[in-house]
């Protein structure tokens, strides 16, 4: 079972991964967007880490809704509301339970991802974060590792796509040949699940 501390670790590991990869995310965004995705998420997850340090949310759900609120209040851009909604909706779906199973997380994350799809109006194949998140949710039924690999594969698979949502869509054909920055950061978020599980010494989420 995944306890509150696991979810804190998930967020901290995501923040660390975003810090590490911020320049790469920004460079990806420079190619088909506006060169701010890395700094956007860095600002957001720094705020998440600070909030988790200051407040002590008591449940997995509370950790994620707090994190989601922080992202909405500090990121801005397209990714702020989208990632904020992802975490808030996932957190809300987890309810008040003090511990949740991997299956419950997979289901809740599915609701979160559906909310992202609804808010942004994007579908699979539109070259957005959904292209990493949707396969990750499917694979999370198996394991965190499988989810991570699915997210990475999904992100890599955005390279040949023509963007239909977000800034990259302005480029038309010129959006082809670049990885979507949001898909790349989603792979970091999902990959952090593995690190969070590893850090507890346990055998995966």
């Amino acid at each position: 079972m995944l306890d509150t501390d696991f979810f804190r670790r998930w967020m901290t590991a995501t923040a660390a991964a975003v810090d590490r990869e911020a320049d790469r995310l920004t460079d990806l965004d420079a190619a088909i967007g506006d060169a701010d995705h890395g700094t956007n998420l860095q600002r957001g997850f720094t705020a998440v880490t600070a909030a988790l340090g200051g407040e002590s949310p008591a449940t997995p759900g509370a950790v994620l809704t707090l994190a989601g609120r922080q992202l909405i209040s500090t990121v801005g851009g397209a990714s702020g509301p989208l990632y904020g909604t992802l975490l808030r909706r996932t957190g809300r779906a987890l309810g008040e339970a003090p511990e949740v199973s991997t299956g419950q997380l997979a289901e809740a994350l599915g609701e979160g991802v559906a909310a992202v799809a609804q808010l942004g109006g994007a579908q699979a194949g539109d070259k957005t974060m959904l292209d990493a998140l949707l396969p990750a949710v499917q694979a999370l039924g198996t394991s965190a590792e499988a989810a991570r690999d699915a997210a990475l594969a999904g992100a890599a698979a955005t390279v040949p796509l023509l963007a239909r949502k977000g800034r990259a869509s302005y480029l038309g054909e010129r959006s082809i040949g670049h990885e979507d920055p949001g898909a790349a950061s989603s792979a970091l978020l999902v990959g952090a699940l593995v690190e969070a599980a590893g850090a507890s010494g346990g055998g995966g989420a």
Binding site: A30, G33, D34, A35, D36, T39, V75, K165, S169, Y170
Partner: protein, 328 residues
């Protein structure tokens, strides 16, 4: 770059605005620029905002006759809902608030969240989307046309009507009318260097240009060998007129992206005027300058807005902001 560190660019800019403009209320902590006299009794509040790096848009357009408040985000990043909610609360006199939102996914999502929250707090909110950039195909397979130069026309004209005490519905309607009557096209002669990235967002050799750029340093639709000012005017005005066929007089904005000398912008205006007159479009008013910019990008955009007598009257109405000032 003339900065301290990338992280404080927006806050530093607001501190500098506060120092230069005692006639405005600048809330550096909450990232708000407000008319000093807000809320004005009975007046609809006009709130806009968006990523920073487009100055004077939007903060430079706050004041009597134009915006009630502006919410500056990080560089090229939509502001967050908290800012817009605070702005709405600060400028609402009970007559309601119009959000002027440039059509970018980030701006739309954040302003929508803010609208929901503000309405929960009892503020009546309407929203107008600005989407004038003809370089982007407006279809369900894109995020839709971008909001660029027309924003200035929407904010000026809706602001004038709001100052006359018109209802939220009427202010919203005129804002929509202006947006529907306006189209833009932009060209880059150099890429942008954002403080956070520190190097140009794309690589543009000096003998080439990008056609159909936005205002966020994104590349355009097409790259070409350098064209003359006259050729660029032909291309841009024809692109605009493909989408907008004005039957009457128009307002023209010949806008610099930030690093193009004013002398060159005026020269470009001469060519824009030539093309418009070749196409039989009469020009009622022209504004030339750096108004909707993209940091240090060299380049320009043209916005054409068809006006009737009422819109022209509202355009000519007095305005007192840092960047646009006339009448009284």
């Amino acid at each position: 770059m003339l900065i301290n560190v990338p992280e404080t660019v927006v806050a530093d800019g607001l501190r500098g605005m506060a120092a230069a403009h005692p006639e405005l209320t600048v809330d550096v902590e909450n990232r708000l620029v407000l008319r000093r006299d807000a809320p004005v009794a009975g007046k609809v509040g006009l709130v806009s905002g968006g990523g920073s790096g487009h100055e004077p848009l939007h903060a430079g357009f706050v004041g009597p006759g134009m915006l009630s408040a502006a919410c500056p985000g990080e560089i090229f990043t939509s502001p967050v809902p908290d800012q817009m909610v605070k702005a709405a609360a600060a400028v609402d006199s009970g007559a309601g608030v119009l959000f002027v939102v440039k059509n970018y996914t980030g701006d739309v999502l954040n302003f929508d969240m803010a609208a929901e929250l503000a309405e929960e707090e009892g503020v009546r909110v309407a929203r107008v989307l600005v989407d004038d950039d003809v370089a982007v195909t407006d279809s369900t397979f894109t995020a839709g046309r971008r909001g660029t130069g027309a924003t200035l026309f929407v904010e000026k004209i809706a602001g004038a009507l709001a100052d006359e005490g018109a209802s939220l519905e009427r202010v919203e309607a005129v804002a929509r009318q202006v947006n529907a009557s306006a189209r833009s096209f932009g060209v880059a002669l150099s890429a942008v260097t954002t403080p956070a990235k520190g190097s140009p967002t794309f690589d543009l050799p000096s003998g080439e240009l990008e056609l159909g750029i936005g205002i966020h340093g994104e590349p355009g639709r097409e790259r070409r060998p350098m064209m003359t000012s006259g050729e660029i005017a032909d291309f841009a005005v024809h692109a605009v007129l493909e989408d907008l066929r004005p039957s009457g007089p128009v307002l023209v904005l010949v806008n610099g992206m930030g690093a193009t000398p004013l002398l060159e912008l005026y020269g470009f205006n001469a060519e824009v005027r030539r093309v418009l007159s070749e196409r039989g479009v009469p020009v009622a008013r022209t504004l030339v300058g750096n108004y909707v910019t993209s940091l240090d990008m060299a380049g320009c955009s043209v916005t054409v807005c068809q006006v009737d007598e009422e819109l022209l009257r509202l355009w000519d109405a007095p305005v007192q902001t840092p960047a646009l000032r006339w009448g009284r």
